[in-house]
């Protein structure tokens, strides 16, 4: 089995897995970073969203072969103590219900605001459309992204 080296939350990690192994399962089963969630496995729900070189990606559909040598940020590494403006906004508005989708929502929102710190309502909705929240906490997710934008700019 090939050996891969990736940077996760600023630390170099070596893993030996078959080349089609999705990044999601390497994070969860090999690196013990279980904040990144499994929802669908086919890039449809966003629960597994992480940052790859700063871009929001679906880790369930990215193989190790595709991410070798790259730098990845997960929810555990988004900030030191949950103090990223997006996390702060999430706390302020008490967004989660069951909470399962929320890491993915936060990772999508943070990458989006990084690139578009002053988004319109429609832009926020479009950016978050790929992340399913089965509990339907959508109204608070939307407001929290709006609030985070004001914290960033």
């Amino acid at each position: 089995m090939p050996l891969y080296t990736i940077t996760v939350n600023g630390k170099l990690k070596n893993v030996e897995v078959s080349k089609d192994t999705p990044l999601l399962w390497v994070l969860r089963d090999h690196l013990e970073l279980v904040g990144t969630k499994f929802g669908c496995g086919i890039a449809q729900c966003g629960a597994c969203t992480v940052h790859l070189e700063g871009n929001a990606v679906r880790s369930c559909s990215l193989t190790m072969d595709a991410v070798d040598g790259k730098s990845i940020t997960t929810i555990e590494g988004l900030s030191e103590n949950g103090t990223h403006p997006v996390q702060e906004a999430w706390k302020e508005l008490d967004v989660p219900q069951c909470g399962y989708c929320q890491a993915g929502q936060i990772m999508t929102a943070s990458a989006f605001l990084d690139k578009n710190p002053k988004p319109s309502e429609a832009e926020i909705k479009a950016a978050m459309h790929g992340n399913i929240c089965r509990c339907a906490a959508y109204t608070r997710i939307f407001k929290a992204v709006e609030l985070a934008a004001t914290k960033i700019s």
Binding site: S18, I75, P96, Q97, G99, I106, N131, A136, T139, F142
Partner: protein
């Protein structure tokens, strides 16, 4: 409205102990405490602290920790239930630390999974627990001062006597631990509540937003292996043979085994219970080192399946259900007056049929469960809402003593009724028993969606008779795969409001596993009835709101004890909704739809605003009025209310599980549509303020949502949606005739 009286003896579930480290520990049993009636343990003095599952710890510095073991499905009970204790204990919420045992602790057995009803059942016992603890501290302080306890008052963790001397709670914990548990305590009047009714954030908020392990899928122990289960591809098929040669040679695969023998024990009466709803086929299990390797190797198993019972398709199901509605094999759940006579004398009769599909639950966290079985112990960990049933059934199926079963519950990535059923627990128990290694069974999304306990397909036929401009008869018929409505539901509105009223139900036995789904039994009923009232008002040429209000007048002062809803509370929410939504006062271009419903002991009214954007109707806003009694945590309550409405709209619009030869035709989110951000309306919530006991919130806003939208779509397009999901009829989203008037 009838509420069950709650009877219990405090002493049966409270004990105290002093802590070696200093401080007082009050143990109680939340599982027992939250049931409407309680059978006290045989001999309380024999209980030790391991028999309790909830604790209040008061340290000698006065710090209060509430160990809340009740797991969280997403309804906020892990926050709201400790609030009830803290209120009566009279401490500041900011100084209370709510802790759930780490996932690997041994101290949290036999928990109760919180649902809509938790707050209702916990309302009195949990406040009594807090008040008892407070009284013990007061008694201890009074003893120290040599005064009567009635001369002492408390405020935010400080006891004060008549002369103004004070003790912090921490100062008297040692003495309190030695005192008898008081028999009688007084509860606060609602006007004195400080914590109840104030906004409290989710106690797990910090952990959720930083990605800490909380859920069943996150649970892991050293040496744990993963199991992926190959289940029948269709309801009605069973395993005949399989070839796992290729799968066995794949990386990470440890073993491939067959299960099913032990599960058959579950069909025996003594081991079975209502949570056992699963295929009786044998199944093939891949045991692997990682999740991915297990899921991948499962795909490589070649299995032969044979048809054991008829394979159902949606078309046959539809025909069967319609035939049931046309037939006469009904079970009558309520009968007032004589509908036959009323229909014969009617001047006008309106009859409509409403149809809904099967629905999967689609919890965001797919089903999973952990087990480790040795000769001494059965250790089970994961997200299940019915731990007692699961523990008993596992003991029964494995021929073990239930005392050897230790079941821990994790936070749940959604429940919606799916985790009431223990199929995944029974599977992992059989696997762990065979391999004798710590193992976790994991469902892929495809497994989760195709091996469900679905909301059954349901059809309603409602018929009403009108004479002299009055509704004289109402006949509701239900046909459902495996049945649906039961119990008290036939006593919901409009029961009592129509002289001749009858509710009949029929079902056929399907081999597709079905069960409770968010807002069980009424999630589609509300759509049918609240759509029907709109149609009825249109046909009668009367105001749709007035029609409902007039009917409610007839129920006021009723002596019929069976009537479940309160006409006064219903009338109130309707009036408030009319006012707050600007009903009938909207500028042209906004089309409104109305629905009001009672279920889960809560009264809800919703108004949907639809506008036309680029020629298509869009749900812009929902105004919602909820009477759920005292709102323990408004911040959490609003989250639940909004979620219920959006969920209700989403499933009415898109939810559809079609079967073809016993096989679900959707397996994942690429071909099963859930509501997403761009389809979500603005929601405005109004909570009715009163002093009545709190009732359910996780569910009751869902049922009326679909009807409010359907009624608004009728106003906007002229088309009446009688079937869910609406997305099946894209042509109906176009206006039939350009609507001119605004409803109201």
């Amino acid at each position: 409205m009838s509420t069950p009286s709650i009877t219990f003896s405090r002493r049966s579930f409270i004990r105290t102990s002093s802590l070696a480290s200093g401080g007082l520990l009050i143990g109680f049993n939340l599982f027992t405490a939250c049931k409407p009636t309680v059978t006290p343990p045989v001999d309380i003095s024999q209980l030790n602290f391991n028999d309790f599952n909830a604790f209040i710890k008061i340290a000698d510095n006065g710090a209060v920790t509430i160990f809340a073991p009740n797991p969280e499905i997403g309804q906020g009970v892990k926050t709201s239930m400790p609030m009830l204790i803290a209120e009566e204990l009279d401490v500041a919420w900011d100084n209370v630390y709510v802790q759930q045992g780490d996932l690997d602790t041994n101290n949290y057995t036999r928990q109760l999974a919180g649902g809509s009803q938790s707050i209702r059942f916990g309302w009195e016992p949990l406040r009594q627990t807090g008040a008892t603890a407070r009284q013990m501290l007061v008694n201890a302080a009074a003893l120290k001062w040599g005064v009567d306890p009635s001369e002492c008052t408390t405020l935010e963790g400080v006891i004060t006597n008549a002369s103004g001397d004070t003790f912090g709670y921490g100062d008297v914990v040692k003495e309190a631990a030695l005192l008898e548990v008081p028999e009688n305590v007084t509860l606060k009047a609602p006007k004195d509540f400080k914590i109840i009714g104030s906004d409290a954030k989710n106690v797990d908020l910090e952990k959720i937003i930083t990605g800490k392990p909380l859920f069943g899928l996150d649970y892991k122990v050293d040496g744990m292996v993963y199991a992926a289960v190959l289940r029948p591809p269709a309801f009605g098929k069973v395993l005949e043979s399989y070839d796992a040669t290729e799968a066995k040679a794949m990386p990470g695969v440890i073993d491939i085994i067959k299960i099913g023998e032990k599960a058959k024990e579950l069909t025996k009466e003594e081991n079975s219970n209502w949570t056992v709803a699963m295929s009786t086929s044998d199944k093939v299990v891949v045991i692997a080192k990682t999740t991915w390797e297990a899921l991948k190797a499962k795909e490589a198993i070649k299995a032969n399946w044979v048809t054991e019972t008829p394979l159902e398709s949606t078309q046959d199901q539809d025909q069967k259900l319609l035939a049931l509605l046309d037939g006469n094999k009904f079970n009558t759940l309520r009968k007032d007056g004589d509908i036959k006579k009323a229909f014969a004398q009617a001047e006008m009769v309106l009859e409509r049929t409403y149809e809904s599909p099967f629905l999967p639950h689609n919890c965001m966290e797919p089903m999973n469960f952990f087990a480790n079985i040795t000769d001494e112990k059965i250790h089970l960990v994961g997200p299940v809402q019915t731990p007692e049933f699961a523990a008993n059934a596992v003991a029964g199926m494995l021929g073990r003593d239930v005392n050897e079963v230790h079941l821990e519950m994790t936070r749940m990535g959604g429940g919606f009724g799916r985790r009431l059923y223990g199929d995944f627990v029974y599977e992992v128990a059989e696997i762990a028993d065979a391999i004798r290694k710590p193992v976790k069974v994991i469902f892929s999304r495809e497994d989760d969606m195709t091996a469900g306990t679905y909301r059954p397909a349901i059809k309603y036929r409602i018929k009403a008779a009108v004479k002299d401009g009055k509704l004289t008869a109402y006949h509701l018929k239900e046909a459902a795969a495996n049945g649906n409505m039961y119990g008290l539901i036939p006593n919901f509105f409009p029961a009592g409001a129509v002289e001749n009223y009858q509710v009949d139900v029929a079902n056929y036995k399907s081999n597709i596993t079905t069960g409770a789904w968010r807002a069980p039994y009424t999630n589609f009923l509300a759509f049918a009835e609240q759509s029907f009232f709109d149609e009825l008002a249109e046909t009668m040429g009367v105001d749709r709101i007035q029609l409902r209000l007039d009917l409610l007048q007839k129920v006021k002062g009723t002596t019929d004890k069976r009537i479940e809803y309160s006409p006064e509370r219903m009338e109130n929410i309707i009036k408030v909704a009319v006012e707050k939504s600007g009903w009938g006062k909207k500028e042209s271009g906004t089309y409104q739809g109305f629905a009001a419903y009672y279920c889960h002991n809560t009264h809800v009214a919703e108004v949907a605003d639809v506008i036309i954007e680029n020629g298509m109707p869009v749900v812009k806003k929902v105004t919602c009025v909820v009477d759920c009694g005292i709102v323990v945590n408004p911040l959490g309550a609003k989250n639940q209310i909004e979620g219920g409405i959006i969920d209700g709209i989403g499933h009415a619009m898109y939810g559809d599980l079609v079967f073809e030869d016993g096989t679900p035709q959707s397996q994942n989110y690429n071909n099963y549509r859930l509501i997403r951000m761009m389809e979500v309306p603005e929601i405005e919530t109004h909570l009715i303020q009163n002093d009545l006991s709190p009732t359910g919130l996780g569910e009751p806003t869902l049922p009326p949502a679909g009807a409010a939208v359907a009624n608004a779509l009728k106003a906007a397009t002229g088309n009446r949606f009688t079937q869910q999901p609406f997305s099946k009829f894209p042509e109906m989203m176009q206006a039939k005739s350009a609507p001119k008037t605004i409803i109201g």
